[in-house]
Amino acid sequence: MSWRSLVYLVREGLQTAARNPALSVAALISTAASLLVLAIVLLITSNLEQQAESLENRRVLDVYLADQVSEPDRLKLELALRELPGVARVTYSSKAAALAAFSVDTGRYDLVEALGYNPLPASFRIELTPGMATGQRMRAIADEAVRHPGVEDVRYGGEWIERLDQALRSLRLADLVVAILVGLAVAFAVSSTIRLTVLARREMVEIMRDVGATDGAIATPFLAEGIAQSLVAALITLGALKVVTLVLSYRLGVEIHFLAPAEVIGFVGFAVGLGFIGALWSVGSVLRRTA
């Protein structure tokens, strides 16, 4: 097929859609409605993922030191902690820094006067590399750290971190299952819509066949129409989703994040792919029947 034929056939598909606005608008609304379901699932997933990520960012271990640890021992310990697998950063907080932070947090500046000494220990805060902040890994680091001389105690979320891990795993799995089911339903709905469009133009297919058009030439206008239809439907869906996000954020007083640029591109690509496959499937079955 020459490029002039391709351009003509693509234009033919788009012009035919424009000349039959009732059918095109109905197909557009139907496709956009199906895509909106998927977009909402995607939005919920995206926000849950962000929440999960922020929880993971809070996964740190605090290693408390005995008061009598000498400076060389502290430095040796710091080096040992940095060497542990999964450790991204180790930050030292002296007794004085701990007292200052306590005073700021609680508003009590008379602790030392009341007790006659600073009871707060010096500590290391261990931050983990992304992806390594599992409850299991944190327990292993804590077990390793506590064996070092001069370490009095190691604190981290403990069991709740592991419970959180379990909950996030279940959530992601459920989300994936929902996304696949919704994706399949949307694929079917979009394909069916395009199939109706093709069937409504069956006469055109028969004319093209009778005058000697190749299967590729017959399919191209419908593929162009299917792609254009799903592209426009995806953009309408994203616009509607943006409005819903803003309204809900305002009404509920919580921050709901819109989809990230990569997710937007992925969503549009998915919709266009569905349009293409739906049109291919529909026009293919019509072609087979009108061989």
Binding site: M1, S2, R4, S5, Y8, L9, E12, T16, R19, N20, E203, M204, E206, I207, M208, R209, D210, V211, G212, A213, T214, D215, A217, T290, A291
Partner: protein
Amino acid sequence: MIAFRGATKTYPGGRTGLNAVTLAVERGDFLVITGASGAGKSTLLKAVTFEILPDEGEVVVESFTSTRIRRREIPRVRRQLGIITQDFRLLDDRSIFENVAFALRITGIHDPRAIKDRTLRALHRVGLAHRRHSRPRELSGGEQQRAALARALVNDPLYLLADEPAGNLDARAGDQIFALLREINLGGTGVLVATHNPGGIDSRRDRIVRMEGGALHEWVPGKAAPAGPAPGWRRAQP
């Protein structure tokens, strides 16, 4: 040449579309295929376009043979054929000119001058050039069939296949279509017309065959009237 050599087609469910049909049609022939509804007339024409392929025997259209043809070659056969049906099949969303030009564009002809010249020539042949800007629904049935005929002619086919071309027309419009088909035939295009109405047949000039239960009987000139039963009809032998 179009040739059927013992072509048999049985549809799912057992209905016979073609029953050992043997027939040869030359480019200059004017062949009228008669018979009742369901007798196999349309199946015969569909076998010529390779829309259906026989289960037994073969159909040959110029250099293409049904037993050897590949799916991607079928459009090349159809470009040598012009097809009209009783339901006209015109696209309501465009003018008559665009309906006719569509057959050129869809087969890869994009030169605007060639499209204009060939489309107008085809419309002139059927006496419809003055209605080229009209939409199909603005035309009478006879005019719509002439527009469909122009579309079938625009690619200069070797053969014209007409399946009940007057089926949806009144007698006068039907006669006009038959007159046009004869005129086209005089220009050297082979014409195959399937009709269950003997009104348009000229038994002195036309080659007439009759389909019955998928079997083809050729009328022998000089014997009984073509619409009548047995005496003048003989079964074509493979």
